[in-house]
């Protein structure tokens, strides 16, 4: 069971997570229904892969970042450990249902949050080059454009013709939505407003379901929705505040560790909500960059390059840490400050799309990431 039990107010204040559901199969295409579901956890601010998955076998780790590395990590193999915040995730690894990709990132090295976030969601060749997102394009290709579900639509899902967001509203004094009124408003719009009010109208005909606003419950809700016949094939949960320039902490009670716990809770929530559908599900994390190898002057870290990606789901049948470890010594670092990225994370995203949506790698490489030569890493993750 998810561990966090935040009140709604605390949640809104401290965690800032939001959910988006996407990819309802179009009617008429049900025979071609894709084999699985794909969920993305967006980690805004830059997750520290060296804290999340400490490479304790690297002699430089403790020399360079003693204050950022947990003592009580879980040993994964002779080289890599797992942060104590990932108790649930560790259990999934033991059950061969989770893996880690380390020293990886989208090919972006400029260390700006906003360029990096745009690139990791847009999946284009340079920041701000795309107005749609890689997941949206993949869902389009799989003929499940469809609806997606938060207060703003993340770029990663854009590209579908008919987006819909989901986040429960609680406005005192307002009554149930009036379908006929909303239809009238919708009809008065000539342009984009019309479609959007139609979505509100459609929602007004569905019975209210109350969703608690903490990340784990959102994940559970998403899992349940995706498990239903004809339910969405994709979901995105956004978690912010990984940008720990100061007082980052090392263990599960530190600032970064608490964010890592949220990831753990979200994955646990998904597993619970998905139920039997877990077996055909893949969940992956995405972050704009890792953090510097060195600890800065305020017990935190600056923006870096390589990080780690977490993968979970029944679609994984053998747990492993996938890495071509670049080393942490000064000359092995990127620009003598960051963990180098040796695996293009777009390849990891492509493998997850291939698994969940049944698309061919070459098609994904070309049409989703505009990089026909993108290496295929499917067998490293799913075989």
């Amino acid at each position: 069971m998810p561990k966090v039990n935040l009140t709604r107010r605390e949640f809104l204040k401290v965690s800032g997570a939001s959910l988006f559901l996407a990819g309802l199969p179009l009617t008429g295409f049900t025979k071609d229904k894709p084999p699985g579901t794909i969920s993305v956890i967006l980690l805004e601010g830059g997750m520290d892969g060296l804290t999340a998955v400490p490479p304790f076998g690297d002699p430089n780790l403790l020399k360079m970042r003693k204050g950022l590395t947990p003592d009580n990590y879980l040993k994964l193999n002779s080289f890599f450990g797992l942060h104590p915040s990932f108790k649930y995730f560790g259990g999934l690894m033991a059950k061969n249902n989770a893996s880690i990709v380390h020293a990886t990132n989208f090919p972006y090295t400029k260390r700006s949050h906003f360029e990096g976030q745009n690139l990791m969601q847009g999946g284009g060749l340079s920041p701000f080059s795309e107005t749609s997102g890689w997941l949206g394009r993949a869902l389009d290709l799989a003929k499940t454009p469809g609806r997606s579900m938060s207060l703003d639509m993340p770029l990663v899902l854009r590209g579908m013709s008919d987006n819909d967001n989901f986040y429960p509203a609680s406005v005192k004094g307002s009554s149930d939505l009036m379908t006929q009124l909303i239809n009238s408003i919708s009809m008065s719009y000539a342009k984009e407003g019309s479609e959007i009010f139609k979505k509100v109208s459609k929602k007004s005909t569905q019975k209210n379901s109350i969703v608690p606003r903490n990340p784990a419950s959102l994940a559970k809700f998403a899992g349940k929705a995706m498990a239903q016949e004809g339910g969405p094939l994709s979901s995105v949960i956004k978690v912010d505040q990984f940008d720990t320039h100061a007082s980052q902490g090392s263990d599960e009670y530190g600032r970064h560790g608490k964010r890592l716990t949220l990831i753990d809770d979200i994955i646990a929530g998904y597993k619970e909500g998905l139920g039997d559908a877990w077996d055909r599900s893949i969940i992956l994390t995405l972050t704009e960059f890792g953090r510097t190898v060195f600890e800065n002057g305020t017990r935190g870290t600056e923006h870096g390059y390589g990080s780690a990606g977490l993968l979970a789901g029944g679609a994984i049948t053998k747990s492993r840490v996938i890495s071509d470890w670049p080393g942490l010594s000064k000359k092995e670092q990127f620009e003598q400050r960051d963990l180098m990225s040796t695996i293009d994370y777009r390849s990891v995203c492509a493998a997850c799309i291939e698994n969940a949506l049944g698309l061919d790698h070459d098609l994904i490489a070309d049409k989703v990431f505009f990089s026909p030569k993108l290496p295929r890493v499917y067998n490293n993750i799913f075989s």
Binding site: F114, D152, L181, I185, S188, K203, G297
Partner: protein, 489 residues
């Protein structure tokens, strides 16, 4: 909409029914830049509009003292064991977030300086801060004193005052940053402790607040900027909250640290990086004066002018700014050496000339609906901590709206582009808020009266006349293409 309301929607917060409409709307909008209006509000529902009481607008020193007192009392009382009543009393006495949010809302609803307030919100968003760590008593002060109070001066001054304000120094982690060769770092090394540089504010000062990545500065420029900023901080909260020493002793310690007791001018010499620094080719001298030289250099930089001219155009004129509009504003900037009155005047001229509708932020729309309808949707300042059966707490309103300058969010702030706001989610909220404003806020005017007053277009009239029920008509009006700023009037 008639021309007055069309311009008030784009550049202001809409005219209240008792405000006479100006004949020359452009001249009026420009004159608004210098409008003098105190923070107006109401003490209780139904009370007359009056200026906010001085006692609820403490200065920065009082705000820090209050926060330190809150912290001590919260700790001493062991917050887990404290009664709800005690916790509420402590919050009521010492924390400013709820009061500042209400003051901001009142000001926007009742203010006579609507165009000024819109520009203030633009800059409050450009210089995003948020309620992280110990920041909640600072944000309202930064909006009023660093932004609104500097709205008629040069951009360079606003930039300096915002960069050195506690709200920004805390939000972007500069308060503990120390130069790599500073005394503080030397002493920390001797003790085996960690101290040194934090580049968060330096990076965003370049990327977001001034030149933007188009200037192609290097990682070294970011580090040099952080070195100029090292030392800029706030009072140590522990010292301020320490009740075992006298105020006089506290002042002596502050003067020893920074030569001043002013927390908005607090440069800790022992954390400063010695020597000159070079940022984008500009040599910045050591010491406290370095920051002003750096911010002046950045404020006048061509990339800053272009970057912010684009942002102003996108916020007030068009989602897809035309180069001629951007150039017009950039030229006014350059010609006036960054005088905000001249820059804002250029924005007004172009916004009035452009007939393109502009989709408004959730909070702007909310204030406009309330002003148009004469509803009362915010509690009075004497009711900040009261529960009301029909009207939501101010904090809740902004939570549900999905937008507020107090929210914890990324430092690039809220987008001015409608693409970031067009979603079923957001539109559902507008319907619900229009409903709540009608139901709880009891508008003074009917939809017909409002339509007549603003000169609503045919589409709006047909829409409103096609639905039955006064509440339904009100919702339809406020969510119409015209009032949402989505389609042409």
């Amino acid at each position: 909409m008639n021309e007055q309301y069309r311009v008030a929607q784009k550049l202001g917060l809409m005219f209240q029914a008792d405000t006479p409409l100006p004949d020359d709307i452009k001249a009026w909008a420009i004159s608004q830049l210098k409008a003098k209006s105190p923070a107006l509000g109401i003490s209780r529902l139904g009370a007359k509009v009056k200026p906010w009481p001085k006692s609820l607008q403490p200065d920065l020193m009082e705000r820090d003292t209050m926060f330190a007192n809150w912290f001590q009392r919260n700790k001493i009382g062991d917050s887990a064991n404290a009664s709800n009543a005690e916790r509420q009393a402590n919050q009521k006495e010492n924390l400013m977030r709820e009061k500042d949010q209400l003051k901001f809302s009142h000001r926007n609803v009742y203010g006579k300086d609507q165009v000024r307030l819109r520009f203030a919100s633009f800059w409050a968003n450009h210089f995003t801060t948020g309620d992280v760590h110990d920041n909640q008593n600072h944000i309202g002060h930064a909006i009023d004193e660093a932004i609104l109070a500097n709205l008629n001066g040069d951009f360079s001054r606003m930039l300096y005052k915002v960069t050195s304000h506690p709200a920004m120094l805390i939000y972007l982690d500069n308060i503990y940053s120390a130069g790599p060769n500073s005394n503080e770092v030397k002493w920390a090394k001797q003790k085996g402790e960690q101290a040194g540089l934090n580049d968060n504010l330096g990076r965003e000062l370049l990327e977001l607040h001034t030149v933007s990545p188009s200037a192609k500065y290097s990682e070294e420029d970011i580090r040099s900027t952080a070195k100029v900023l090292a030392g800029w901080g706030v009072f140590p909260g522990m010292l301020w909250g320490n009740n075992k020493i006298t105020v006089k002793q506290k002042h002596a310690k502050l003067i020893q640290m920074a030569g001043t007791t002013d927390t908005w001018d607090f440069f800790k010499r022992d954390a400063a990086e010695p020597g000159t620094k070079t940022v984008m080719g500009k040599v910045i001298p050591k010491g406290k004066g370095g920051l002003r030289q750096l911010t002046d250099f950045l404020a006048a930089h061509e990339h800053t002018v272009n970057h912010i001219s684009f942002k102003l155009t996108q916020h007030f004129i068009s989602d897809n700014p035309s180069q001629s509009d951007i150039d017009y504003i950039a030229n006014a900037w350059k010609k006036s050496n960054g005088n905000l009155d001249q820059i804002h005047r250029a924005v007004i001229e172009r916004a009035v000339a452009s007939k393109e509708p502009k989709f408004q932020w959730p909070m702007t729309w909310l204030f406009q609906v309330i002003r148009l309808s004469g509803a009362t949707f915010f509690l009075g300042w004497d009711q900040v901590d009261d529960y009301d059966d029909s009207i939501m707490a101010t904090r809740k309103i902004f939570e549900e709206l999905g937008q507020s300058f107090w929210h914890v969010r990324q430092p690039n702030g809220y987008s001015s582009a409608k693409s970031e706001w067009l979603s079923g989610e957001m539109f559902e909220r507008r319907i619900r808020f229009a409903d709540a404003i009608y139901t709880a806020g009891k508008p003074s005017f009917t939809s017909q009266q409002i339509m007549n007053r603003i000169g609503a277009n045919k589409t709006t009239r047909e829409l409103v006349n096609s639905v039955a029920g006064r509440k339904e008509q009100f919702i339809a009006l406020m969510c119409s293409p015209e009032l949402m700023g989505l389609e042409n009037a």
